[in-house]
Amino acid sequence: MSVGLDCGTSFYIAARAKKIKKQRNAFLTVEGETSQVKRMLARQKIPYVEKSGKVHIVGQHAFNYAQIFSTSTLRRPMKSGLLNPTENDALPVLNAIVGEILGKAKNPTKAKPNKEVCVYCVPAKPIDENREVSYHEDVLKTIIEQYGYDVKVIEEAVALGYEGLVDSALTGVSISMGAGMCNVAVMYQGMTALSFSVARGGDWVDENVAMDTGSPVAKVTSIKENSNTLDISKSHIENIYDEGSEEANILIALRSYYGALINYLLTNLKVQFEGVENVPNFPEAVPIVIGGGTSLVKGFVDVFNEQFDQDIFPIPIKEIVLIEDAHTAVSRGCLSEAMLVEEENEESDS
């Protein structure tokens, strides 16, 4: 029973052959006497993590509380795609989240002597932040191994490519648009010709919208994820929202920052591609496949198409596609890889 794990800034998503589990990657610390707080949370069926006398509400409940009580600060174990360096309580919370969505691996038996395989993903090295990925990678590996898995790692955009580029012989551009980062891989026949990440994603959009509209970040995120009226492809002239309301201001700002984010990403992709030696020539047009939670907003592909200019883009592109079930696509790519590793292990044993 292999498992694929997408370790995102906003969500941890574990995919198995017959089940997908999602957990929002956020927490909120509750003041009060530990045992009393735990009893109260257990009665209300609110998930919590206790460490060193502190009790943290975890996941969607923490996110909801942060919206209701604007004075409480939502804490994030990860920031910009990597472990949050300013968050001291991040590791026990991550440990608990991983423990819940993965569960303990089944013990090897005579029939199945190998450990269960877990493939998780890490971002490529960011080009706009001076940070390495290796510590983040090692910590996650250590946590997953604690639950008894044989652990392998792949890059996030490559995992997306395994789901979205199979019909073009693993040739094309895959872009995973997450909350903390956007990851890009240019693939040619299964090989990664270029991969990088930028430390901008959905959080960058939300923070800028919050600053410009004076609304809390949690509220902006909630409107972005849940609004029925949001369509970022609608232009200012065709504004369908009630002008002047807080929600309308947030929606207008969201459209603007989505355009800026996509433009930033495409510009950097062009610069990176032109700056790398030995990049393959693409004789035929290839697809761009997009996934990740930040791409779920309505009208995303239209805005992407608006920002995309084939005349200046270095690779001939035949289509820009939003992958099916974009939120879980990376975890599914990890799962496919995990299953193939497990099959290889079994073949080598027999």
Partner: protein, 108 residues
Amino acid sequence: MRELLIEWLLNYLLISLVLWQIGFILHLLLKNHYGKRSKEIYKTIPSTPTAVEVELPNRNKDIGVVDVNVKKHIVADKPTDFKIDSDETIDGSVKLQKDKLKELRSGL
């Protein structure tokens, strides 16, 4: 007594005069013989070091960075207690591209 004193004095003057004359004559003789010599400055001429060719051991010209494996000891802090249910669980067969991926890999 007075005559004796005068005689000693005369003798003393006479002997002194003779000694001075001898000294003066010797001075003249030495001066004529060796003459005046200017001060000689002895300059130390530095010797120019010349390189000595020696046989060098063979080595690669481009020596790159050597990467090493590091034994990492990472402690992932465990929680004292936790009770979590996933925010969302989607049951049912998950659509995967595994078989196509396997085909591509075997064909590549």
